[in-house]
């Protein structure tokens, strides 16, 4: 009778244990951020590209120009309000010796409807915005058709990638970069790479 009792206790315990495990699983889910997307490119090289400079005519950048140093690729646009908040912090990072390359994401341009793109108007807008916030960028790559952004798995702005000196993507952060995010996600990787001591 006592072994029977034990058995039935065990049978009752099984659903309880499953329920508790499920609770743990769902509880963890409460704190996971659904907006936190990771590119499928993590651990891979930056995809090949050749794209023009945002501010200088006839200047082209390619993936080969990026090789040899640790840097951040920051995806941004003048249309992006969060970028406006983020730019002063990025400027601070640059002052601390972090290389930041801008990937300018043009949001609404559609060649079928909009005709020729007015680059001068955009340059004026960019200069105005960077004059207000500080300019964190070594230079800006202009991705009019969002081709590099697509290959990187960018879904909006701001987004930031950490790339090592071999050109491998180590981190992908969606949303603004601030002191808290930098400390939690980027700082340790950076000291690991011994590029800058922060």
């Amino acid at each position: 009778m006592s072994s029977d009792n034990k058995k039935s206790k065990l049978v009752f315990a099984v659903p309880l244990i499953i329920f508790l495990l499920l609770c743990v699983f769902l509880f963890k889910g409460l704190f996971s951020n659904p907006r936190e997307l990771q590119t499928g490119r993590l651990g891979q090289a930056v995809p090949a590209f050749t794209l023009p400079d945002l501010m200088v005519d006839d200047k082209l950048w390619s993936d080969k120009d990026l090789a040899g140093k640790v840097y951040l690729i920051n995806v941004w646009g003048t249309w992006c309000t969060t970028c406006l908040v983020e730019l002063p912090y990025l400027t601070k990072l640059r002052e601390r010796g972090v290389n930041i390359i801008g990937l300018y994401l043009e949001q609404g341009y559609d060649p079928d409807f909009d005709g020729e793109f007015n680059i001068q108007a955009l340059r004026d807008e960019v200069s105005q915005m960077l004059a207000r916030t500080g300019n964190p960028y070594q230079y800006n790559i202009f991705d009019l058709n969002r081709s590099l952004a697509f290959d990187l798995g960018v879904s909006g702005a701001p987004e930031t990638f950490l790339v090592d000196s071999k050109g491998v993507i180590l981190l992908h952060h969606t949303g603004d970069l601030n002191e808290r995010i930098w400390r939690a996600k980027f700082a340790s990787k950076f000291t690991e790479l011994k590029e800058v001591k922060l």
Binding site: V14, L37, Q38, Q107, F150, S155
Partner: protein, 159 residues
Amino acid sequence: MKYFLFVLLMSFSAVTFAVEEAQTFHNEQQAKLFKELSLELRCPKCQNQNIADSNAVVAKDLRDKVIELVKKNESKDYIVDYMIDRYGYFVHYKPPVTASTLVLWILPILFVLIGFGSIVFRQKKSSLKQDWSDKDEDKLSKLILKYQNTSVEDKQELS
């Protein structure tokens, strides 16, 4: 008359829409594949919409890329992998079995197994508990006899 015009206009707009859709692809198969993929691929910007449903810039870019690849006669697996390479597993509505998604696949099966298991277990248990001896059998037949008789008498009384 107003109503008639409304219906007329509505039907025309539907026709033009259908023509536009058909013109995009070289053949029926490609159109079908595009439709399938645009329902199965998930917009990275908007949590619970597929790319057919969303007007986000990135969803449009994904649609355009799917059209481009479909027109190149790429297979469905190739296109899905192409998107997963860039946007991660998030972009596909059919998650693969990995350690973190295992619970989604196992839990329903587990629930069914435990449910049916407990039903079977309980039935077996209750049927085992009824020990039936010769004494019980005797008692039962006596009871049956007794009540059979009374019921016969009752009937006689009634008649």
